[in-house]
Amino acid sequence: MVIKWFIQHQIKQSMRASIWQKTLVINIILGLVLLLMLAYLLFLGIFIDVILNEMFPDNDPIILFNSMLLYYFGLEFFIRFFMQSLPTLNLETYLHVPIKRSSIVHFVASKSIVVIGNYLSWLILIPFAVKVIVPNYSVGVALIWLLGIILLIFTNNFLATYVKRHLVGNPAIVGVFGMTSIVLVFLEQFNILSASQLSANFFGHLLEDPIFLLIPCLALLGSYSLNYFYIKSRLYPEEITHKKTQKVDRLANVRYFSRLGMTGQLLSLEMRLLWRHKRTRSMLVLAPLFWGYGLVFYPDAVEGFSLSVIMIFVGIFMTGGMMISYLSYCFSYDSNFFDVILTKYSDIRQYIRAKYILALTVSTISFLVTIPYVFISTQILFINSMIFLYNIGLLSFVLLYVSTYSRKKMDLSKGSAFNYQGFGASHWLTGLPAFFLPIVTFLPFRWAGQPETGIIVIGCLGLIGLLFHKLLLGVVIRQFKKSQYAMAEGFRQSE
């Protein structure tokens, strides 16, 4: 069987992927987080009838649960669309060997079955079926109900991958799906078509008559075929990979930088690096979200805004979030051409200074953008300006220092969501003091009833850092020179 080999290769590929070669600590932490999530879901599943009873004591929990299912599928569809990566197989390695094309296509089409998202909801569904449906109906009915829902989960999976496949070649299809969902929301809003009613009806029928199981079966078959025929018609690698050669953008022609000499060149290089790679670009596009933190945290604090630890954290992330996400990887970004830096730049100070200047620029922009929060409270501006000083005067140097511990090559052409590449435990362990220093500074003053003084002291720490920035930069440079060989060696290793 060919499929056996495919599966074997895929398992080997994922076992040998660089994602597992992280330090043990990170793997353990990620594993614990995963376990915790699973435990929460199971807990929710076991007590969902109790919860539903508490919240809606007048409704039948089964009808209620059934009516929510369609919403759940809608939500799941969107989560899948954004999070789930497209299942691919390196076709070129298989197309030239004598394997039937249809088995290759079946394998690629069905590969998304193993995605963990397909199974998470079982943790809620199965306890609900056992605890609520079995006593009310029978084991057989519960099984049919469960089967129907699970088939629809996989239908959803195939539908989402199908739409996502079109994202590369034919964005219009994605638009159609988007419009359809907006229309559905409207219909629901104006009570023309109620998704909850529809959902309750359908799954209600499923409980009464197993013949309705046909619908999920057909839906699954249909959505799978969509994928199958889509891939089959595009089996030639050049048609499926869509490797576009990009045209050169005009970023290099920004005149301003050329006036700054070598530093300008380095800055311009850095901007082009950030803009021309998928990972850094999505980081740039998403960064303004940091500025919105205040909208979440401040409104609650309008009445009696207090100088609290939370507000300091909010301040660090709002005025420094962009800087932090840039600086903590700033040397790994260059992992692809690190040898250029080591053999051609005769002045490493300039190179590191350019990074610092860029960090300074983004945090200044962040600070300026968050000034309007002053209309909520003048205290906010006070905290944020002190933290801004701390960010640019101290935190930035700490982050530069810490990022000399990067040892992993980073492939910037991959997306950034859930991409832990280049992420090391040392980043966090050494970075943490920088985040807690302001808190540790602040707390004694607060206990002494002098929170304002505490905030001012944080700002002063930053000012001192700024005054001695030459010295701090020197420390970073010395550290860089010490670890440049280890960095270069790590960066040279491919995946």
Binding site: K247, L269, R272, F337
Partner: protein
């Protein structure tokens, strides 16, 4: 020009390079040949201070390469694609290096004119990023970037790899001209024995990190090399 003393490099308790002494004189063209894993690239990386030797030191113009950055001002090098900034277009990359090496706009234009034949219309004004070029064209960009600022010392690791026949011949011409007219010191490694004998007047064979043969090139060299590797 280059002097290595008691160099050893050990990876995972395996000695990959062990050179008690080697001297490369000014204006010498030095060819390094050897099978995979012989330590050619390791030797070049040591000269470029990209890795640290376990013992010994390397001096360039009598100064330890690890003590200063001065050698960067007169050393042009291209070892592999890590030496390219691949998200730039070739022009952007050359402009950047021109700034690094302090070349003027005129110098750059002169460089483009001089390497016009070598680029064969495949590199400039193509409106492509380096990452989208073919491997051969990337190699051309890399080699040209090593030579563009008229360095005194040129280090190329397997420069003929991936180049089409015309470009290989042009490269031989360019390297010979650098040697005879500009007095450049040349360090080249290659798997191609005939190319390396055409370019270099001294050839060193490395085997498992050790220098096994060190000979001056003459009309019999190619035969000798071929019989050694056969």
């Amino acid at each position: 020009m280059i002097q290595a003393n008691n160099i050893t490099k050990v990876y995972h308790s395996e000695t990959v390079l062990d050179i008690p002494e080697i001297t490369i004189r000014q204006n010498e063209s030095f060819g390094l040949v050897g099978n995979n894993g012989a330590g050619k690239t390791t030797f070049f990386r040591l000269i470029l201070d990209l890795i640290r030797a376990n013992s010994g030191n390397i001096t360039s113009k009598s100064i330890d390469v690890r003590s200063t950055n001065d050698w960067k001002n007169y050393t042009g090098s291209y070892l592999d694609q890590n030496f390219l900034i691949d998200f730039l277009s070739p022009e952007e990359y050359f402009e950047f290096l021109a700034e690094v090496h302090g070349l003027s706009k005129g110098d750059l234009a002169e460089f483009y004119a001089e390497y016009d034949e070598f680029f064969a219309g495949e590199i400039l004004e193509k409106n492509k990023y380096i990452r989208d070029l073919s491997n051969g064209n990337k190699q051309k960009v890399g080699i040209a970037s090593a030579l563009m600022f008229k360095p005194d010392l040129v280090i190329l690791d397997e420069p003929f790899n991936g180049l089409d026949p015309s470009t290989q011949i042009r490269l031989i011409k360019i390297l010979n001209k650098l040697k005879t007219e500009d007095g450049v010191t040349l360090l080249v490694s290659s798997h191609d024995l005939s190319h390396v004998t055409e370019v270099c007047d001294r050839i060193v064979i490395l085997e498992k990190g050790k220098v096994v043969t060190d000979l001056a090139t003459n009309e019999n060299t190619l035969k000798e090399l071929e019989s050694y590797f056969a």
